[in-house]
């Protein structure tokens, strides 16, 4: 099954992403939806900007999804859509959706994909606060 992977500067249509993974062979669809939170480490966030190295991000995302297919061979469909550019509070930043025959594997595979994405996919978050800006996680 070819996963649907994309990095977009347009608002993410969550229902459309879910529709790409739905199949008659799967009894479970599990989705993680990451949204922009109003604070970061206690500092109020006004908005943020995601920068992406697209070609590498998609390559690494492909590796993450391939690992998921190895760990859960029953995985039917996978979609990952990540936003880039400027986002406001509550905007959808990322959607991971998986379809499996039964629910247990759908939770596990979805969590694995979002957790691993955060470690390896080349996307950077620049947060804007009332009193300045910061590249998230850049410094110890």
């Amino acid at each position: 099954m070819t996963p649907h992977l994309s990095i977009t500067d347009q608002a993410i249509d969550v229902a459309a992403v879910l529709a790409t993974v739905q199949t008659e062979a799967a009894g479970a669809v599990n989705a993680f939806i990451g949204t922009v939170r109003n604070q970061s480490g206690g500092r109020p966030v006004r908005r943020l900007h995601y920068e992406s190295y697209d070609s590498m991000a998609l390559t690494q995302l492909g590796h993450v999804v391939a690992q998921a297919y190895e760990k859960w061979p029953m995985l039917q469909q996978v979609a990952v859509v990540h936003r880039k550019g400027t986002l406001n509070l509550s905007d959808v930043a990322v959607v991971v959706a998986v379809a499996t025959p039964h629910r247990a594997e759908s939770f596990a595979a979805c969590q694995f994909i979002i957790d691993t994405l955060k470690q390896v996919v080349t996307i950077w978050k620049h947060e804007e606060y009332e009193d300045g800006t910061e590249w998230v996680a850049a410094h110890p």
Partner: protein
Amino acid sequence: MSLKIALYGITRDIVGTALIELPAPAPATVGALLEELRRQYPALGQLRSCAVAVNNEYAANDQALHTVDEIALIPPVAGG
């Protein structure tokens, strides 16, 4: 051999440009490149991590670099 290195996120802010061109003789390996860039831009050494990507893959320090490679500095990622 010369090299072009793309910069993203905080590394672009530190260096002040999105692309560095290192004329010949440029560093021959990933490790040597990191050492050279940290010497020129000490703030790179203060990051939580700074990896090098070659042709869209994370590269080990002993990997050789070539003029035709697509090379990028990868500061700590924060997607999701």
